[in-house]
């Protein structure tokens, strides 16, 4: 016993006589390792939890879409459906006439996005590199378009497009031909395209801001070199500036497509009869209700739920596919576009 006691006393003396600096450091290293372990664990739990919150609706959608509706409330079926069926998808496909709606929405989104990329880039360059009178005021106007809620301008805009006379050209023609020249372009993709082309697409002000920041951060020497080589501003823009806008153009393109695809407000406004997909999905509850009274086939509660989930899935599927392939560009391009600082 005394030997153990002596041994312990010896250890204690050794421990006490050790260089206090080393003792401190070793202690701190151990504490640091324990701390970072726990921090790591809590971060992992946090991230896992939030990823679950994000992924759960998607998995739920996937699972419900392939399930027979009666199994929706079956507690024994958690993720994998017992009976695998494609009936839900077929039913929603027919109700919403998916192919034509898809093509319509896709053409709308693509055309408007391309117009937006084109215009916002031009306008951004104009605001960035040229000092003209009223530049600040007009840029305030750009930001102003972001702040104004769209509900404030929808009704006059709708009336404008119902009796669309090409911004006054129609009335000029009227002077010549004597009859009013206006056409209704509601129900086509043209209202959105025209808005995008003239710099007023969805969140266009944001893109103009991003482009302006980007062009501001480009070195001035490039343009001076181009000027010395004899380029007028337009040529400078096309030859020198535009090839560099890769990341920014990608950001604009991706975000714009997502916002146009998902947009409910403007699509519901500009389309009455042949509606794009976002409006169809948004109104699906009403559509399902009327379907019940139209065809006399009663939809059960489970069926309604299942159809809604299938509709959501079909709706976001193109975006998801695009996202899976281009995900890297989404997250990295904002950083590289240099909109910050």
């Amino acid at each position: 016993m005394e030997k153990i006691g002596l041994f312990l006393i010896l250890l204690k003396e050794k421990w006490d006589n050790k260089d206090s600096y080393l003792k401190d450091v070793r202690f701190k290293v151990i504490v640091h390792k324990v701390k970072s372990f726990f921090v790591g664990i809590s971060i992992f739990v946090l991230l896992f939890g939030i990823s679950f919150i994000i992924l759960y609706p998607l998995l739920y959608m996937l699972s419900v879409s392939f399930r027979v509706p009666e199994e929706l409330f079956d507690p024994s079926v958690v993720w994998i459906p017992k009976t695998f069926t494609l009936d839900n998808i077929k039913a929603v496909w027919d109700i919403t006439s998916y192919p034509s709606a898809f093509i319509r929405t896709m053409s709308l989104a693509l055309l408007s996005t391309v117009c937006q990329c084109f215009t916002c880039s031009l306008v951004g360059y104009g605001f960035a590199r040229f000092k003209f009178k009223g530049r600040e005021v007009l840029f305030m106007g750009v930001l102003f378009t972001l702040i104004v809620p769209p509900q404030a301008i929808t009704m006059p805009l709708y009336l404008n497009f119902v009796h669309f006379d090409f911004f006054g050209l129609g009335s000029i023609i009227q002077i010549f031909t004597g009859s009013k020249f206006d056409i209704s372009i509601i129900d086509t993709i043209w209202p959105s395209t025209i808005s995008a082309f003239f710099g007023l697409g969805i969140r266009a002000g944001l893109f103009i801001y991003i482009y302006r920041q980007f062009f501001r951060n480009m070195p001035l020497e490039l343009e001076e070199a181009a000027y010395i080589d004899g380029c007028k501003p337009f040529k400078t823009y096309i030859r020198v500036m535009l090839p560099n806008t890769g990341p920014v153009a990608l950001v604009t393109f991706l975000f714009s497509i997502v916002w146009y695809w998902n947009d409910f407000f403007y699509s519901a406004l500009f389309f009455n009869k042949s509606r794009p997909l976002s409006v169809l999905v948004g109104n699906l509850a009403y559509i399902l209700d009327t379907y019940r009274t139209d065809t006399g086939v009663a939809l059960t509660f489970g069926q309604t739920l299942a159809y809604l989930q299938v509709a959501c899935l079909l709706f976001i599927l193109p975006l998801l596919i695009m996202y899976i392939f281009l995900q890297r560009y989404f997250t990295q391009s904002i950083v590289r576009a240099g909109i910050v600082g």
């Binding site: 939030i50 919150i53 994000i54 992924l55 609706p57 998607l58 215009t119 031009l122 306008v123 360059y125 104009g126 040229f130 000092k131 003209f132 009178k133 530049r135 106007g141 972001l146 702040i147 104004v148 809620p149 509900q151 404030a152 301008i153 929808t154 009704m155 009336l159 404008n160 009796h163 808005s195 003239f198 007023l200 501003p233 337009f234 997502v258 998902n262 947009d263 407000f265 976002s278 409006v279 999905v281 948004g282 699906l284 509850a285 509660f301 309604t304 739920l305 989930q309 509709a311 959501c312 709706f315 976001i316 975006l319 998801l320 995900q327 890297r328 997250t331 950083v335 910050v340 600082g341």
Partner: protein
């Protein structure tokens, strides 16, 4: 008479091109924005009747606005509800996104996968799908009293806690915060992205210097990171406020949509203008509050 050819300076010649470049936008701004805006302003001050496709206006002054606040049954409650929701949710949203961005900025295994997952809400929640996920859009089911979304309902936990005898106020508080996390996560996609970009734009040398000088992580955050990302905090706050206010699920928006479909343009215009004035006031307040405190690294 001989007119001497005036030689314009290079700057003046160049500035003319500026007008050409933004010409498209100015045209659209006037015709597709200012004109409808002022027309809607006129609508809000008058009573609108649509006959045979043409609009007949009659000036009634502020009657529409007063009616919106006093006469209309649903507008005051919807207005207050929207306002309180936006004001209380935005700080939470900013703090949450900042926290997430800081975590996502660290180096760990599977970082790109987590970033990919975190950015997913932007793709999905920008539109109609989020309503269906939350179970908002099934009217018939709301009427029949059944909740249509079985996701993230904490009812069983609620019952459990009640059985344990915990005070009901705490239960409601916890339930609301948990439901809030769902909302926050789905609304914070773009904010996280912007904060991530902002965090990566802080010059690394500052961190190295602070480490050499022996600053703790807490001090580093408050003295270096936080002041330098202040501009983006302001941008994010303004963006969140606007986004939440214009979103499709606010009660005010639904009310305006109702009125527009009933072709009652005057009330709808008045309400949207009230909306707009409120948003503008909030955004200006945020802008002025932040501007005094912001510090720019390169001015």
């Amino acid at each position: 008479m001989k007119f001497k050819k005036r030689i314009k300076s290079y700057e003046k010649k160049k500035s003319r091109y500026g007008y050409y470049f933004i010409g498209l936008w100015v045209f659209g701004f006037i015709f597709l924005f200012l004109v409808p805006l002022f027309t809607s302003l006129i609508y809000s001050f008058s009573s609108v009747k649509i006959e045979a496709g043409y609009v007949i206006l009659k000036n009634v002054g502020l009657e529409n606005y007063i009616y919106a606040f006093t006469g209309d049954a649903k507008f005051p409650t919807a207005f207050v509800e929207t306002l309180t929701t936006v004001i209380t949710q935005t700080p939470l949203l900013i703090v949450f996104s900042l926290l997430m961005a800081i975590i996502l900025n660290q180096n760990f295994y599977g970082r790109s996968l987590v970033r990919a997952i975190f950015f997913l809400p932007v793709i999905i929640a920008s539109g109609v799908v989020i309503n269906i996920i939350k179970g908002d859009s099934i009217l018939s089911l709301l009427v029949s009293g059944q909740r249509a979304s079985m996701m993230f309902e904490v009812t069983s936990t609620q019952a459990f806690m009640q059985n344990l005898g915990i005070d009901s106020k705490i239960i409601t508080f916890i339930t609301n915060s948990v439901n809030d996390i769902f909302n926050l996560t789905w609304k914070s996609g773009i904010q996280i992205l912007i904060f991530l970009a902002a965090l990566q734009s802080v010059p690394v040398q500052l961190y190295e210097v602070s480490k050499v000088e022996g600053a703790t992580a807490w001090e580093t955050f408050w003295k270096i990171t936080f002041p330098l990302i202040m501009p983006m905090i302001m941008v994010n706050t303004i963006y969140s406020v606007i986004d939440n206010y214009i979103s499709y699920s606010t009660p005010v928006f639904k009310l305006i949509q109702d009125y527009s479909q009933k072709i009652q343009f005057d009330s709808a215009s008045a309400m949207s203008w009230i909306n707009f004035i409120v948003i503008f006031a909030i955004v200006s307040i945020i802008y002025f509050v932040f501007n005094r405190k912001t510090f720019y690294l390169t001015d």
